[in-house]
Amino acid sequence: MQVNSNLGNDLKGLRPSALFMYMEEIMSSFFSYLINGISLGSIYAIIALGYTMVYGIAKMLNFAHGDVIMVGSYMTFLMASSLGLPPVLAVLVAVVVCTILGITIEKIAYKPLRKAPSLAVLITAIGVSYFLQNAALLIFGANTKMFKSVISLPAIQLADGNINISGETQVTIVVCVIIMIVLTTFIKKTKSGQAMLAVSEDKGAAELMGVNVNGTISLTFAIGSALAAVAGVLLCSAYPTLTPYTGSMPGIKAFVAAVFGGIGSIPGAFIGGILLGVIENMSKAYISSQLSDAIVFSVLIIVLLVKPTGILGKKIKEKV
């Protein structure tokens, strides 16, 4: 906003070549914001995948998903900084821990409540979320930990150095695309993927056809939590402050992204995540950094009021 308000005065005194340079500067800064938005959106998309899969299959809003991200980040932090493991190994440990955590949470807290009203399940999920946050608070303390980025790729310079794409941004976007492709293939081509589809369509019928419903739900939680660990590592590599509450806001925003794209739909989570990241970054850059959260939530409300099932909610039958 501040750039634009001065634009009129500045343009008067400029020669055509200078004007061109000015335009180029605006374009390249716009492009940087866009790339950063897509990168942030990719993280949201990866988290949103976990939300959307769990919602599709268990019809529950897993509030604790955001805190699994936090656990993943802390595990990576512990392994890489304290034990000095190489980054790849640290991430791997975090993924394994989160997968086990996801399955455990499902077994203890959610499985007995399969037939309970959704309010009861939601409150249990909130309880789990509180539990993880406060357990982390007790174990790791309230102090902010500086997360050392696990990515050591050099930045790419574009357009004579006007656009700088950091290694974190590149990796985040690539990882997100890979996860999308692998996950879609997994669901379309493998037996377990088909079982997930079947369970999300109709639990009873799937059981009659010999699908192991409980196993499939556990698998979904495992995949979702593993993705959350990956998202946590990417998130903390890009924004290196780590506290017990690190996961809650991105978690809620990723849920917004999942709802935005149509909850239950995998491409929807992808589109919703990217759009949300771009909207957030653009409103931070051009409107107000303080109001960006309000803008993101307003967009969600408008989308839900116009299309209560989200962007891809009805058109795509593929539900996981």
Partner: protein, 357 residues
């Protein structure tokens, strides 16, 4: 005594609830007068009323209307800021009594109005969607108030969303709402007596609503929307009624909150979604739909951490475990079998059956 026997069950229950609050109030007042309360406990008296009121308000939405709202801290925030703004403006020109009365009406009215405005589009959604949208609304309200600047000088009021300088105040003008710094210097009008009176009024409003024809209509919608609609209940009307009353009462809690502190700021810890969830915890632990339970659980849960200071670090952890535990105990199939087997009622009836033999 004979007179009391003729009362209906609901009136009796209402009287017990109100009586409970009154007795608690009298005990606290006696203890205060006797000097038996520590200053810490004295400081907790008003918050007790605040949290009890907002727990009752949320229980109206969650328990009676059957819709999950995660945005009640937002309504509390609206009530707090609108009333604090009013009180600040009339700090020197009005007597404390009528000013606070009007502040309460303003806080409740504006919060109820927002409840109505938000409810019209949002109550069409259901279940988890409604929860997430109310959460979003709460966050938006907190976010907007944090960038809101209002000042006053001889020309009247100035608004800005940028910073205090952008208000362009004349000499002698003052900033009233200063963005993230909030409102400083609200008159401290809240006290325990007013809090207790407001709690009683809140209870009367909610319990009367529950036991009235509209209340039964609201509960019918909760139990089966389609059946309620087919017997001619206007769903939108009653949903909005319950939701806006609930929002208005949350606003009253906000008014008490604002006038109990000299500095009012909208922070994540007092008006964020974590606060909404805290209130939900009170409601759930007190029993969803049980108004009296909400009051009791709010009081216990506010007092407990203060009484057990050394457990402070573990407080939230214990909360979360209890929350999960209660949900599992209520709904898990195994727990239900267990409860039926060992329920007090059954054990008692068995005993009497044996005695009869």
């Amino acid at each position: 005594m004979k007179n009391k026997m003729n009362l209906t069950k609901s009136t009796k229950s209402t009287l017990i609830t109100i009586g409970m609050v009154v007795v608690a109030y009298i005990i606290m007042m006696i203890l205060t007068k006797a000097g038996a309360l520590s200053s810490l406990m004295k400081g907790l008296l008003v918050p007790l009323c605040i949290y009890a009121i907002i727990a009752v308000a949320l229980n109206l939405t969650v328990g009676i209307l059957g819709e999950l709202s995660l945005g009640h801290a937002g309504f509390m925030c609206i009530g707090a800021f609108s009333s604090a703004f009013f009180s600040f403006c009339f700090k020197d020109t009005m007597a404390a009594g009528p000013r606070f009365l009007i502040a309460i009406l303003i806080g409740a009215g504006i919060a109820a109005l927002f409840g109505l405005l938000i409810g019209i589009p949002v109550l069409r959604l259901q279940g988890d969607y409604l929860a997430i949208v109310t959460l979003a609304f709460g966050e938006i309200i907190k976010n907007v108030i944090n960038v809101l600047y209002i000042g006053r000088d001889v020309d009247g009021f100035h608004f800005s969303m940028k910073d205090a300088m952008a208000l362009n105040l004349q000499d002698g003008g003052q900033v009233i709402v200063n963005g993230a710094q909030g409102i400083t210097g609200t008159p401290k009008d809240s006290n325990f007596t007013i809090g207790a009176i407001l709690l009683v009024i809140t209870l009367l409003i909610v319990l009367n609503l529950v036991n009235s024809r509209p209340g039964r209509a609201i509960m019918a919608i909760r139990d089966n929307r389609i059946a309620a609609e087919s017997v001619g209940i206007n769903i939108t009307k009653y949903k909005l009624l319950a939701f806006s009353i609930s929002a208005g009462l949350a606003g009253v809690a906000g008014v008490l909150y604002a006038h109990n502190l000299s500095i009012l700021q909208a922070q994540p810890k007092n008006f964020g979604y974590n606060m909404s969830i805290m209130i939900l915890v009170y409601v759930v632990l007190g029993g969803i739909g049980n108004i009296r339970g909400s009051v009791i659980s709010a009081i216990i849960l506010v007092l407990l951490p203060e009484l057990m200071r050394e457990l402070q670090d573990y407080r939230m952890l214990i909360y979360s475990v209890v929350l999960i535990g209660i949900m599992l105990f209520n709904w898990a199939p195994k727990a239900r079998v267990f409860r039926e087997k060992y329920s007090l009622k059954r054990l008692l009836s068995k005993k009497t059956a044996k005695e009869e033999k």
